[in-house]
Symmetry: C2
Amino acid sequence: MEQQNGHAPDHAADLKGKDPDATDFANYFCTYAFLFHQKEMLEDHKRTGAYYTAIMQNQAQFRDKVVLDVGAGSGILAIFAAQAGARKVYAVEATAVAQHARKLVQHNRLGGIISVIQGTIETVELPEKVDIIVSEWMGYFLLRESMLDSVLVARDKFLKPGGALYPSHARLYVAPIRSNLTHQRQREFSNAMEGWAGFTNDMQRYYGVRMDCLNDAFHDEQKQYYQQTSAWADISPQQLAGRPWCFKQYDLLKVTQQEIIDSFKEHFELQIVEAAPIEAFAGFFDVQFKGSPENPASFEVLLSTAPDPDCGTHWGQQVFHLYPPINAQPGDRISGDISISRKKENHRLMRVIFQHRTTPNQPQPQAAGMKLQSTDRTDFYSIE
Amino acid sequence: MEQQNGHAPDHAADLKGKDPDATDFANYFCTYAFLFHQKEMLEDHKRTGAYYTAIMQNQAQFRDKVVLDVGAGSGILAIFAAQAGARKVYAVEATAVAQHARKLVQHNRLGGIISVIQGTIETVELPEKVDIIVSEWMGYFLLRESMLDSVLVARDKFLKPGGALYPSHARLYVAPIRSNLTHQRQREFSNAMEGWAGFTNDMQRYYGVRMDCLNDAFHDEQKQYYQQTSAWADISPQQLAGRPWCFKQYDLLKVTQQEIIDSFKEHFELQIVEAAPIEAFAGFFDVQFKGSPENPASFEVLLSTAPDPDCGTHWGQQVFHLYPPINAQPGDRISGDISISRKKENHRLMRVIFQHRTTPNQPQPQAAGMKLQSTDRTDFYSIE
């Protein structure tokens, strides 16, 4: 019977470089993907349940208010807001999913409260300002592909003074972890290099063409893929070799649109508690629903994407592989800076740089004449 | 340890619909993919070997000639042409892979013969017309994502009268097959619908939101994905339930640029030889290297992507699932028309429509008063 190879056939054909003006190599219109992906996000009940609780446990904040749902998708948050007693809800959704949202609104008899508007928040006009903006805007590692830009545009255009954002705060974390995935990637990298060696031999043998001049380029390309591209994973807390460190906090009422665009650099300190090779850094985020100072939530909710033994989210965590691993002892400290920026060639993707050093708990005995070995290192990553 | 879910995480995040102007939902610049994919295509030795043989066994046609390689990629065909004695070779490549091609040309000491030009064939200028155009332009099912448009532009701009295209001819085939993949897709479709039913129950139970109004939309979306999107597969000849039928032929010296853009409809006839449910149509192509009438090849080569027990190609074949299958007996005939067109919303993708009927070998005995059941049907597909 047929073999379904593991490779991505579309990718291979796309990369014949036929359309050089398109920087997108998998440029296809996913006509079959809308509801499937809405379902994937909705059935992430840690996510959906957090929004439900944040809204339904704060009905006093929502009752008779005007609400805006930015990037409404299926319209579920708009529906929650209406269920919580909002007087009027605007659900703005840029894609064709808006048509499904309209059906849902009608089917749940909320057409008198919720208006679904298909368009971008940057271009849409609303007849009034709003008391509350709800939005599920977070991407992997919070900021990848995030809609935060659009949420801040909505805030600046439509939110009344004293109005609230749901969620109101966001935090970014990094933690030291052990990682089987990192091992796996290293094996795949080795295999890729072995494969290349066999391939260049064949090209010489069959066709008399010497391709070894591309060895370094292939190596660098594969290194970027296997080592320097962060990976999605659902990490177990057992992999944590130390407590997570919060390296950035956002007050979403105060942060400016420019701050979101700009690169930033933040300090971090990781105390190692397990004797284990630190094979990767794990990155994740949480958001909180606290309301605004003028209109605080009665019931604060935390939606965390930290490693969870029972229930992950579709965001997982991001794994930043460390090659070589850091051989740390309990009490050692890994400290340094994380720099995060958007890629110039594609602002939807990110660059992350860790500059760090490991300080031992026990100072190492130093033999006469021997230099103390520096642990300073810089590790570069793409979040694709 | 971590779980790597089977889903495509990037896809989920992309489909939050943050950039509605982009119809591409996996819009990322594959900086790590150039050489890896060149290697994938080069190590398809049925493919690369066919070009090598077609060029090296026709050195009389290449000696002292001027050659153009359209969409040169790594430059391998340009290198073959130079090895075969060409006086001058222009290798035109639109993407950054051109830089690797230059390295290869230098490393193989062919810099005096081969000029690598980074640019599109539509915009590039050459100092002279050429005797031969070589190109590996074929996409899945020949025409998906194919560079044929560019090859014909090159032909019309640069090819001398009497000049040759390598390859010179192309043919499209369809065959009736059994298909486990079709079964598998049908099971996945069922599972998706079961999952949706459970999901809508949960949404009602947890959040009081009724989503059953989207049942039909979800069903149609999944049907399009599982049933109506053709699939890549490497088919075994044992799956063939009848001989392939050639439904279209191209003389690449004569076909016009307009003919390639236009939709077309062609007749097909499939004689069934196996008693089997016909679960899918398989589509594939071949190309031939015959040279031109004025400059014919001494040694004609055929590169076929037909099902092959020993050696497939990276093109595989395209599987067009039949739901329900056609219950055919040996001697039955499936006949009709295939229509192929480019999608308006994305001309790189294709629509394929099969309108067909099954004519039994043995006329069925007809009970008095019973209508003869028509086997006329129309099956629609996307090639994504």
